[in-house]
Symmetry: C3
Subunit: 139 residues, 3 copies
């Protein structure tokens, strides 16, 4: 955590690249936006080594009633339990701000849905087994 | 919302195409099935501009005990909170009916798992930022 | 159920293959690990015909602060409701053990996050429509 997954219709890749709204840059911007979120005590909310954004163009898709070449981008953040409503709101605004800014040039040319959501993980088992987290842990 | 994600084993794409059960057509049929769902007051349940179906063949996979070239198709609908059990049932039957009908020719030739589920979103933040929804909103 | 989805950064595929930690083998090992989980009465927890592992390399991604070519592997098991905490723990240890063992050679060469989680499904509709399950059902 925090774990961001972006699911989007595969018809958008070419248009994103054409209009300066490419997905690799969006992933980086979204990770940076999350890293900048602070809680009420001005502490960094998301540990650096836990931030990841993974984006998947859908091979096959259908949007709305199919009456046009519509697109969809769905951004989902899963974060740990127990954060305050204020932190949820700040994280959501960070995500929404990054998405709005990055995809504005695309929306000037295309009709698309763009939804940003945050879920709290409700896992019954959790194990962190990697070697990345310790690189960024404070001494 | 409603948000349908289809995750399936990548060994099925060729067989789907061969037996007239291709995934692009399934996505469209599923979207149409959802658009046709009505509530107890005979109102359309899912707003047209919010319907999307995104399908992802898995690059790598394992099914059951690996004793055959089995496949799996998992269809998940995420819908908004607060709908009645009757609406859940109607949406589920619409999804299941579309899947059963579309994949029947495939199942005549292949062993596969086919699961359809509906989850209610429990998001703690939600923002709709696109320009598609307004196209379909009633005046 | 049980439904395992593996989401990982696409920069790992080549390194996985190079270091004997390829994803197709991991999927099979994970399925086998789940099939071997027993409950308190020594019964198989997960029905053979319901086990599937689907793995997706992300086309686009960002990890941590981007200061290196980091990777991420996220393993999520969704299982049915109502299992005991002991069964959750056993299933989690099976998943974590398979991941730790399989990816150890990769982590000797790469910095990556590796998270394993289990969620209990909270679905409001569920239909199993395939023809695979009956092959493995007891008479």
């Amino acid at each position: 955590m925090p774990h961001v997954v972006v699911l989007y219709s595969g018809n958008l890749d070419a248009a994103m690249a054409e209009h300066g709204a490419d997905m690799p840059t969006y992933c980086r911007r979204t990770a940076d936006a999350l890293l900048a979120v602070r809680d009420e005590q001005d502490r960094q909310v998301f540990p650096t080594g836990g931030v990841r954004v993974l984006a998947y163009p859908a091979a096959h898709f259908a949007v709305a009633d199919g009456s046009g070449d519509f697109g969809f981008i769905y951004v989902q953040l899963r974060m740990g339990r127990g954060r305050s409503a204020a932190v949820h709101q700040r994280a959501g605004e960070a995500l929404a701000g990054a998405a709005r800014q990055h995809f504005a040039p695309l929306m000037a040319h295309r009709k698309l849905g763009l939804t940003v959501q945050i879920d709290e993980g409700q896992e019954v088992f959790d194990a962190k087994l990697g070697n990345l987290h310790p690189m960024f842990s404070k001494a």
